[in-house]
Amino acid sequence: MDQEQTVTGKSIFRIDGPPKVRGEAKYAAEYKVPDLLHAYVVTASIAKGRILSIDLSAARQFPGVVEILSHKNRPWFWPVSFLYKDAAGPPGKPFMPLYDDRVHFSGQPVALVIAESYEAARDAAALVGVTYKAEPHATDLARSPAFIPRKHRIGVAPVPHPTGDADRAFASAPVKIEAAYTTSPENHHPMELFATTVEWGDNIVTVYDKTQSPKSVELFLKVAFRLIGRKVRVVSSYVGGGFGLGLRPQQSVFLAVMAAKSLKRSVRLVLPRDHMFALGYRANTVQTVSLAADEKGRLQAIRHKAIAATSQFEDAQDPILLFSASLYRCDNVKLNYELAKLDTVSPCDMRAPGAATGMFALESAMDELAYALGADPLALRLTNYTERDQSENRPFSSKALRECYAQGSERFGWDKRSHAPRSMREDKELIGWGMATGAWEAAMSPAPARAEVRLRSDGKFEVTSSITDIGTGTYTILSQIAADELETPIERIVVRLGDSALPFNPIQGGSWTAATSGAAVQSACRKLKAKITSQAKKAGVLDRRPGTELLSASALADLLKLRRGGELSATGTMFSPPFGKRFSSATHAAVFAEVRVDEELSVVRVTRIVCAVAAGRILNPTTARSQIIGATVMGIGKALHEDTAYDHNLGRCMAHSFGDYHIPSNADVYDIDVVFVDETDTQVSPLGVKGVGEIGVVAVAPAIANAIFHATGQRMRDLPITIDRLARARSRAS
């Protein structure tokens, strides 16, 4: 099939769009199950202490209530925490809901009401009276002692060792800056609430769950609830946004299965929006960055220290410093990564985990250094451009960041920028242009991924894989890959995903799904194609003109007839790449932002963003662009809005809804221009794909912060940049 006819690389509208619009795409809470019970969580009001008593008298009387579980009457489960480890879990003891009388964080589940209806469960839950013995708590990162984590989280690269002598180089360099940055905790709020529907059967337990990994939820449940011997099937056909919270089995699935097992009944648990604040968050940080350069702007020293929040029971770790040693050329680098324990739930991965937080500080500091040097911020990046990953001392499999800078700056009109802060103005608004570099790992999954493809008797090819589609377009790109490999119109490809009964795939995270699961599909299709070709030749039904599809529908039907209705299938497996050590692989981006600031009133508008991305081969420009646009909006939220407000006196998160946890509204989002630069990479993955899930968010917040500096002359080092912070910065300056 020639290039003209391939569908990979083309803008195919997502094939799951119509079923979603028609309401046919079912989410975890939407499955109809007979004799279903509903559960609702009672949450802790204190941050730390013990449960003294639980008064269930009123709640038990409530019409429709079937059972109320707490640590006192929950079913037995393994008392050893290592059995609750999951694929994305950090070192420590995973939180086990209703385990004992200890309260580890405000909002922790302390009881579960199960009733005949959602309303009955919810309303009875309000009648459960819990008394506590509170103990002193700590939720304020700034006041909590930091430590170096003893155990590294698997899957997160350890912080690189120091190179050269950063302290000495910093001391002797002619131009230098040092600054402290902070980022606020951010909570996950995908549109779909976390929900689980458990269909309890004697032999099979079907769990419809919102997750980014049906397989790891299945394994987790089998171990945690001793369901070995019973068949457990976890279904997550459609996921209304993942972003990292669904990488670990969540409280909702644990509690719902506990209730179902206890009652031997089918149970549904849907967490309301306010309970979602107790599920995991992007760790807040305190960071210090020191940069030094010679007069020509060549970096002489990079020091980056980050202290990130974690819980008392796990050492959650994210690669905050992932790119601090590798993004720019510098011989003297010193990085420090520490944690501080808080009485909160464990932080968790959130789109570009770590990097989005660390790069805010690093890229803000680069802008500060540019101004200390009197250099253009983009020129400074180019001065320090590196073709090698010096932290690992190896080349990149590909790196088209230079093209991102070139095409992004041209689209944006960066050359028309006047360097001085406060030098651009229109009417009552100061205008600022800022930029930042983004990077994210281009990895393949460390665990193998499998896929099966089957020629069905109706002449269609069915591709199956347990991988989920978290709204990114996985159904669509896998269809495209299969169509091309099988030389078949995409209409004849059927894709089934998100079911642990289907071929094994690891968690859907790390931007590796397209590369990894896509390669497994590619491999399966190639095997099937070989089978079909040889059998068709034997049967004499291979009638092929160049440029036509592999086999016409009628030829396939003939083939299947000859096989007496038997189906043809093949399985493909993608093992993690053998060349991993020889190359470093990353996606890159250059983000250019325009802000307009009404200085008198401290109101910011982000009026224009250009995001140029190098991510290897783009399988589908439409779905890829949508990912970058969504990530950019998330970046605007990180820059200006998102902040999980904690009352440190109460040790309690006081954000409960979208009313007090702000994400950007439509009015906050103006023009977003996405450019994919050409990047050919034959090393990174069999498909040449790097993945676009995370890269879009990384550079947005620093680009906006740098633009605000350019507009106002105020360096905003604390996220989010809210009106009060801008107003205080202005009054300090005047």
Binding site: D123, S602, M654, H656, S665, A667, D668, I723, S731
Partner: protein, 339 residues
């Protein structure tokens, strides 16, 4: 949500009687705030009296040349009504600055008057709150108070009134028409909402058995100038950190002849200072005079631990809104650029 009895009122008299019989009943109109509060167990009425069948959906002219707006007219219908848009554009503008199109389509005039603070402690039944649970304490005062009151707060409560519409009504000088067992009563908007004092659980001066029939706007003010300027944490769908409603006339000699200015987001009620307004009368519509007025309007402001910035921001917002009004370039609610 606590279980409740549902009553559908077929007449105003029946609604009043139901309220008298069930002292903890709540009237249901659009439900955009009440139902939320019930879901969170903040409001726990045992009886809900649905008043949506009452004949209170009219907008009509009054004998003195003003406008009467029925209690059940939706916020959207008020904002687009030709008489409101023409003669009271300040009111239309303030309404369009608030909530979202979907909420405005459901929310009513009376519901907007009666909506409760969005203080996050008030909404969280697992925390103390003097407004929700009198005597339990106020964690906002030593805690998260970035968007709380700077004017008129008490030791017991630092909450703000969240409405945009009411800020415009305060500036225009609207009157609330209510009916109770003893007949009709007209309450000037300035007296309708109250300061928290030692009874923060009471938001208004409405008696428990009174029903709001509607609001009356004063006679049309010829050649008025106006602006509603709302400063918030994002450009749409957020409650005001500070808002200013300006209702102004300027005479032929370029002197201010009417000055009615209300602030939102700063107190337990829309905030006006008529003494400061009086000092503007007869003076030129200049920035110096606006700044002087703004300082006087904010003279009693007291900051909590996190909201000191609001005092200065409120001053600046008032000045800008006055400038916008004076120059006949009121703030647009669709173009988010502030001019």
């Amino acid at each position: 949500m606590k279980r409740f009895t549902y009553v559908r009122a077929v007449s105003i008299d029946q609604a009043i009687e139901s309220l008298s019989v069930h002292p903890d009943a709540k009237l249901l109109a659009g439900g955009t705030n009440l139902v939320d509060l019930m879901k969170y167990d903040v409001a726990t009425p045992t009886t809900i009296i649905d008043i949506n069948d009452l004949p209170l959906r009219e907008i009509s002219e009054t004998a003195d040349g003003g406008l009467r707006i029925g209690a059940l007219v939706t916020n959207s219908d008020v904002a687009v009504h030709p008489s409101v848009a023409r003669h009271y554009p300040l009111l239309a503008s303030a309404i369009l600055a608030g909530a979202s199109a979907q909420l405005r389509n459901a929310a009513t005039v009376a519901g907007n008057l009666m909506q409760r603070t969005r203080c996050s402690y008030f909404y969280d039944v697992l925390t103390p709150c003097n407004k929700r649970a009198p005597g339990s304490g106020c964690p906002a005062r030593p805690g998260l108070n970035r968007n709380h009151a700077i004017l008129g707060a008490s030791e017991l409560c630092v909450a703000t009134h969240p409405s945009d519409m009411c800020v415009a009504l305060a500036a225009i000088g609207a009157t609330i028409i209510v009916q109770g067992p003893n007949g009709l009563r007209a309450i000037p908007l300035a007296d309708f909402h109250r300061l928290p004092g030692d009874a923060p659980e009471k938001d208004t001066t409405l008696f428990g058995n009174e029903v709001i029939l509607g609001i009356e706007l004063p006679p049309v003010l010829e050649h008025h100038r106006y602006s509603y300027l709302k400063i918030r944490d994002r450009l749409s769908y957020a409650f005001a950190i500070v808002s200013a409603a300006v209702w102004l006339t300027i005479d032929d000699e370029a002197a201010i002849s009417t000055a009615q200015i209300a602030l939102g987001g700063v107190a337990h009620k829309p905030w006006r200072n008529t003494a400061a307004e009086a000092l503007l009368i007869g003076r030129p519509a200049s920035r110096v005079n606006f700044e002087q007025f703004a300082s006087m309007l904010l003279s009693g402001a007291v900051a909590l631990s996190e909201n000191d910035f609001k005092i200065d921001l409120a001053r600046r917002t008032v000045v800008r809104a006055l400038e916008q009004a004076a120059s006949r370039t009121p703030q647009s609610q669709s173009d988010k650029r502030i001019h």
